[in-house]
Protein backbone atom coordinates (compact mmCIF):
# COMPACT_ATOMS: atom_id res chain seq x y z
CA UNK A 1 0.00 0.00 0.00
CA UNK A 2 2.56 2.51 1.15
CA UNK A 3 4.70 2.07 -1.96
CA UNK A 4 1.79 2.67 -4.32
CA UNK A 5 0.91 5.87 -2.46
CA UNK A 6 4.41 7.11 -3.11
CA UNK A 7 4.14 6.63 -6.87
CA UNK A 8 3.84 9.75 -9.00
CA UNK A 9 0.62 10.52 -10.87
CA UNK A 10 -3.00 10.51 -9.71
CA UNK A 11 -3.50 8.90 -6.31
CA UNK A 12 -5.25 5.61 -6.30
CA UNK A 13 -8.63 5.87 -4.59
CA UNK A 14 -8.47 4.50 -1.05
CA UNK A 15 -10.05 1.09 -0.59
CA UNK A 16 -13.67 1.24 0.51
CA UNK A 17 -15.06 -0.85 3.32
CA UNK A 18 -17.27 -3.57 1.99
CA UNK A 19 -20.79 -2.29 2.27
CA UNK A 20 -24.10 -3.87 1.37
CA UNK A 21 -25.07 -1.18 -1.13
CA UNK A 22 -21.99 -1.76 -3.30
CA UNK A 23 -22.72 -5.37 -4.17
CA UNK A 24 -25.19 -7.05 -6.45
CA UNK A 25 -27.63 -9.16 -4.47
CA UNK A 26 -26.93 -12.84 -5.04
CA UNK A 27 -29.14 -15.78 -4.23
CA UNK A 28 -26.90 -16.95 -1.37
CA UNK A 29 -26.88 -13.46 0.13
CA UNK A 30 -30.65 -13.21 -0.13
CA UNK A 31 -31.09 -16.60 1.56
CA UNK A 32 -28.62 -15.62 4.27
CA UNK A 33 -30.68 -12.53 5.04
CA UNK A 34 -33.91 -14.54 4.98
CA UNK A 35 -32.32 -17.04 7.38
CA UNK A 36 -31.73 -14.22 9.84
CA UNK A 37 -35.21 -12.76 9.34
CA UNK A 38 -36.91 -16.13 9.82
CA UNK A 39 -34.76 -16.72 12.92
CA UNK A 40 -35.98 -13.43 14.38
CA UNK A 41 -39.58 -14.19 13.39
CA UNK A 42 -39.39 -17.61 15.08
CA UNK A 43 -38.01 -15.90 18.17
CA UNK A 44 -41.25 -13.92 18.43
CA UNK A 45 -43.33 -16.86 17.22
CA UNK A 46 -42.32 -19.03 20.17
CA UNK A 47 -44.65 -16.77 22.19
CA UNK A 48 -47.48 -18.51 20.34
CA UNK A 49 -46.20 -21.88 21.53
CA UNK A 50 -45.96 -20.55 25.09
CA UNK A 51 -49.54 -19.23 24.87
CA UNK A 52 -50.73 -22.61 23.59
CA UNK A 53 -49.02 -24.52 26.41
CA UNK A 54 -50.18 -22.14 29.13
CA UNK A 55 -53.75 -22.24 27.79
CA UNK A 56 -53.70 -26.03 27.64
CA UNK A 57 -52.33 -26.23 31.17
CA UNK A 58 -55.20 -24.04 32.43
CA UNK A 59 -58.91 -24.84 32.06
CA UNK A 60 -61.07 -25.48 29.00
CA UNK A 61 -62.35 -21.88 28.91
CA UNK A 62 -58.80 -20.47 28.74
CA UNK A 63 -57.95 -22.96 26.02
CA UNK A 64 -61.04 -21.88 24.06
CA UNK A 65 -59.65 -18.32 23.86
CA UNK A 66 -56.46 -19.67 22.29
CA UNK A 67 -58.23 -21.96 19.85
CA UNK A 68 -60.61 -19.14 18.94
CA UNK A 69 -57.62 -17.02 17.98
CA UNK A 70 -55.76 -19.73 16.12
CA UNK A 71 -58.86 -20.63 14.09
CA UNK A 72 -59.54 -17.01 13.12
CA UNK A 73 -58.26 -15.72 9.80
CA UNK A 74 -55.47 -13.73 11.48
CA UNK A 75 -54.57 -16.73 13.63
CA UNK A 76 -54.27 -19.00 10.60
CA UNK A 77 -52.21 -16.41 8.79
CA UNK A 78 -49.82 -16.10 11.74
CA UNK A 79 -49.55 -19.87 12.07
CA UNK A 80 -48.99 -20.25 8.34
CA UNK A 81 -46.21 -17.68 8.54
CA UNK A 82 -44.70 -19.46 11.54
CA UNK A 83 -44.78 -22.78 9.68
CA UNK A 84 -43.05 -21.30 6.67
CA UNK A 85 -40.43 -19.52 8.80
CA UNK A 86 -39.74 -22.75 10.68
CA UNK A 87 -39.31 -24.87 7.55
CA UNK A 88 -37.28 -22.29 5.69
CA UNK A 89 -35.04 -21.79 8.71
CA UNK A 90 -34.78 -25.56 9.22
CA UNK A 91 -33.56 -26.20 5.68
CA UNK A 92 -31.34 -23.13 5.82
CA UNK A 93 -29.93 -24.45 9.09
CA UNK A 94 -29.20 -27.83 7.53
CA UNK A 95 -27.40 -25.94 4.76
CA UNK A 96 -25.24 -24.28 7.40
CA UNK A 97 -24.40 -27.64 8.93
CA UNK A 98 -23.46 -28.99 5.50
CA UNK A 99 -21.24 -25.95 5.03
CA UNK A 100 -19.66 -26.48 8.45
CA UNK A 101 -18.65 -29.96 7.40
CA UNK A 102 -16.89 -28.45 4.40
CA UNK A 103 -19.25 -29.31 1.57
CA UNK A 104 -21.42 -27.24 -0.72
CA UNK A 105 -19.35 -24.08 -0.79
CA UNK A 106 -18.52 -24.22 -4.50
CA UNK A 107 -20.31 -22.03 -7.00
CA UNK A 108 -22.96 -24.27 -8.59
CA UNK A 109 -23.83 -26.24 -5.48
CA UNK A 110 -23.94 -23.13 -3.32
CA UNK A 111 -26.61 -21.60 -5.54
CA UNK A 112 -28.50 -24.84 -5.91
CA UNK A 113 -28.63 -25.20 -2.13
CA UNK A 114 -29.90 -21.64 -1.83
CA UNK A 115 -32.69 -22.33 -4.32
CA UNK A 116 -33.46 -25.64 -2.62
CA UNK A 117 -33.88 -23.78 0.68
CA UNK A 118 -36.31 -21.32 -0.87
CA UNK A 119 -38.36 -23.87 -2.77
CA UNK A 120 -38.15 -26.54 -0.08
CA UNK A 121 -39.36 -24.12 2.58
CA UNK A 122 -42.49 -23.28 0.61
CA UNK A 123 -43.06 -26.88 -0.50
CA UNK A 124 -42.88 -28.32 3.02
CA UNK A 125 -45.18 -25.59 4.32
CA UNK A 126 -47.78 -26.35 1.69
CA UNK A 127 -47.50 -30.11 2.19
CA UNK A 128 -47.88 -29.83 5.96
CA UNK A 129 -50.86 -27.49 5.66
CA UNK A 130 -52.42 -29.82 3.14
CA UNK A 131 -51.99 -32.70 5.57
CA UNK A 132 -53.28 -30.47 8.35
CA UNK A 133 -56.51 -29.74 6.51
CA UNK A 134 -56.85 -33.34 5.38
CA UNK A 135 -56.62 -34.89 8.86
CA UNK A 136 -58.81 -32.50 10.80
Amino acid sequence: MASSDALPGPRRPRPLSPHLSVYRLTMTMAMSIVHRITGAALYVGVLLLAWFLIAASADAATFAVFSGFIQSFIGRLVLFGFTWALFHHLIGGIRHIVWDSGYGLDAPLRDQMAWATLIGGFALTIVVWGVGYAVR
Binding site: R36, G39, A40, L42, Y43, V46, L47, L49, A50, L53, I54, A56, S57, A60, F63, A64, S67, T83, L86, L90, G93, I94, H96, I97, D100, V128, V131, G132, V135, R136
Partner: protein, 129 residues
Protein backbone atom coordinates in the same frame (compact mmCIF):
# COMPACT_ATOMS: atom_id res chain seq x y z
CA UNK B 1 -13.73 4.86 20.11
CA UNK B 2 -14.45 8.44 21.16
CA UNK B 3 -13.47 7.48 24.71
CA UNK B 4 -9.82 7.39 23.69
CA UNK B 5 -9.15 10.73 21.98
CA UNK B 6 -5.49 10.55 22.94
CA UNK B 7 -5.02 7.11 21.43
CA UNK B 8 -3.29 7.55 18.08
CA UNK B 9 -3.73 3.97 16.95
CA UNK B 10 -6.30 3.23 14.32
CA UNK B 11 -9.38 1.26 15.41
CA UNK B 12 -7.98 -1.75 13.57
CA UNK B 13 -4.64 -1.41 15.32
CA UNK B 14 -6.37 -1.38 18.68
CA UNK B 15 -8.25 -4.62 18.17
CA UNK B 16 -5.67 -6.55 16.19
CA UNK B 17 -4.51 -9.79 17.84
CA UNK B 18 -7.11 -9.53 20.62
CA UNK B 19 -9.01 -12.49 19.22
CA UNK B 20 -12.78 -12.81 18.93
CA UNK B 21 -14.77 -10.58 21.25
CA UNK B 22 -15.39 -12.42 24.51
CA UNK B 23 -17.39 -15.60 24.09
CA UNK B 24 -18.32 -14.97 20.47
CA UNK B 25 -16.95 -18.19 19.04
CA UNK B 26 -18.43 -20.36 21.79
CA UNK B 27 -21.86 -18.82 21.25
CA UNK B 28 -21.67 -19.27 17.51
CA UNK B 29 -20.60 -22.87 17.97
CA UNK B 30 -23.42 -23.61 20.38
CA UNK B 31 -25.99 -22.16 17.97
CA UNK B 32 -24.83 -24.82 15.55
CA UNK B 33 -24.81 -27.62 18.15
CA UNK B 34 -28.37 -26.80 19.23
CA UNK B 35 -29.40 -26.54 15.58
CA UNK B 36 -28.32 -30.15 15.01
CA UNK B 37 -30.53 -31.24 17.91
CA UNK B 38 -33.33 -29.11 16.48
CA UNK B 39 -33.48 -30.96 13.15
CA UNK B 40 -35.15 -34.13 14.50
CA UNK B 41 -36.89 -32.18 17.25
CA UNK B 42 -38.54 -29.82 14.75
CA UNK B 43 -39.75 -32.70 12.63
CA UNK B 44 -41.18 -34.36 15.74
CA UNK B 45 -42.70 -31.09 16.90
CA UNK B 46 -44.48 -30.47 13.59
CA UNK B 47 -45.68 -34.07 13.64
CA UNK B 48 -47.04 -33.57 17.17
CA UNK B 49 -48.82 -30.34 16.26
CA UNK B 50 -50.44 -32.00 13.23
CA UNK B 51 -51.68 -34.68 15.57
CA UNK B 52 -53.00 -32.11 18.08
CA UNK B 53 -54.83 -30.10 15.41
CA UNK B 54 -57.77 -32.46 15.28
CA UNK B 55 -58.14 -32.72 19.05
CA UNK B 56 -60.18 -30.64 21.46
CA UNK B 57 -59.08 -29.45 24.91
CA UNK B 58 -59.40 -32.87 26.54
CA UNK B 59 -57.71 -34.61 23.63
CA UNK B 60 -54.80 -32.18 23.68
CA UNK B 61 -54.36 -32.63 27.42
CA UNK B 62 -54.47 -36.42 27.12
CA UNK B 63 -51.91 -36.40 24.31
CA UNK B 64 -49.50 -34.08 26.12
CA UNK B 65 -49.79 -36.10 29.30
CA UNK B 66 -48.15 -39.06 27.55
CA UNK B 67 -44.38 -39.39 28.07
CA UNK B 68 -43.09 -39.23 24.51
CA UNK B 69 -45.03 -36.13 23.43
CA UNK B 70 -44.24 -34.38 26.74
CA UNK B 71 -40.52 -35.16 26.54
CA UNK B 72 -40.40 -34.21 22.87
CA UNK B 73 -42.02 -30.90 23.69
CA UNK B 74 -39.66 -30.21 26.60
CA UNK B 75 -36.64 -31.01 24.46
CA UNK B 76 -37.86 -28.83 21.59
CA UNK B 77 -38.62 -25.94 23.92
CA UNK B 78 -35.28 -26.12 25.74
CA UNK B 79 -33.09 -26.61 22.67
CA UNK B 80 -35.13 -24.06 20.71
CA UNK B 81 -34.99 -21.37 23.37
CA UNK B 82 -31.26 -21.77 24.10
CA UNK B 83 -30.69 -21.66 20.33
CA UNK B 84 -32.81 -18.57 19.79
CA UNK B 85 -31.24 -16.74 22.74
CA UNK B 86 -27.76 -17.27 21.29
CA UNK B 87 -28.94 -16.51 17.76
CA UNK B 88 -30.55 -13.26 18.85
CA UNK B 89 -27.37 -12.37 20.72
CA UNK B 90 -25.39 -12.40 17.48
CA UNK B 91 -28.08 -10.30 15.77
CA UNK B 92 -27.95 -7.76 18.64
CA UNK B 93 -24.16 -7.62 18.57
CA UNK B 94 -24.29 -7.00 14.81
CA UNK B 95 -26.73 -4.10 14.88
CA UNK B 96 -26.68 -2.46 18.33
CA UNK B 97 -23.75 -0.69 19.92
CA UNK B 98 -22.77 0.93 23.18
CA UNK B 99 -24.94 1.05 26.24
CA UNK B 100 -28.09 -0.04 24.43
CA UNK B 101 -26.33 -3.24 23.45
CA UNK B 102 -25.97 -4.22 27.10
CA UNK B 103 -29.66 -3.56 27.71
CA UNK B 104 -30.68 -5.46 24.60
CA UNK B 105 -28.55 -8.45 25.60
CA UNK B 106 -30.04 -8.43 29.10
CA UNK B 107 -33.58 -8.15 27.74
CA UNK B 108 -32.88 -11.02 25.35
CA UNK B 109 -31.65 -13.31 28.12
CA UNK B 110 -34.54 -12.38 30.45
CA UNK B 111 -37.10 -12.89 27.69
CA UNK B 112 -35.68 -16.29 26.79
CA UNK B 113 -35.46 -17.38 30.44
CA UNK B 114 -39.05 -16.36 31.19
CA UNK B 115 -40.28 -18.02 28.02
CA UNK B 116 -38.44 -21.23 28.88
CA UNK B 117 -39.79 -21.23 32.44
CA UNK B 118 -43.34 -20.62 31.23
CA UNK B 119 -43.19 -23.38 28.61
CA UNK B 120 -41.53 -25.93 30.88
CA UNK B 121 -43.87 -25.17 33.77
CA UNK B 122 -46.95 -25.42 31.56
CA UNK B 123 -45.78 -28.68 29.96
CA UNK B 124 -45.03 -30.28 33.33
CA UNK B 125 -48.33 -29.07 34.71
CA UNK B 126 -50.19 -30.68 31.83
CA UNK B 127 -48.22 -33.88 32.26
CA UNK B 128 -48.60 -34.19 36.02
CA UNK B 129 -52.00 -32.77 36.89
Amino acid sequence: MAEHPSDLRTPLGRVRFLGAARTGTTDAWFVHVTSIALIPLTVGFVWLILDLLRKDYNGVRAELARPIPAILLLAFVLAGIVHMELGMRSIIVDYINGQSRAWALAANTLFAALLALACVYATLRIAFT
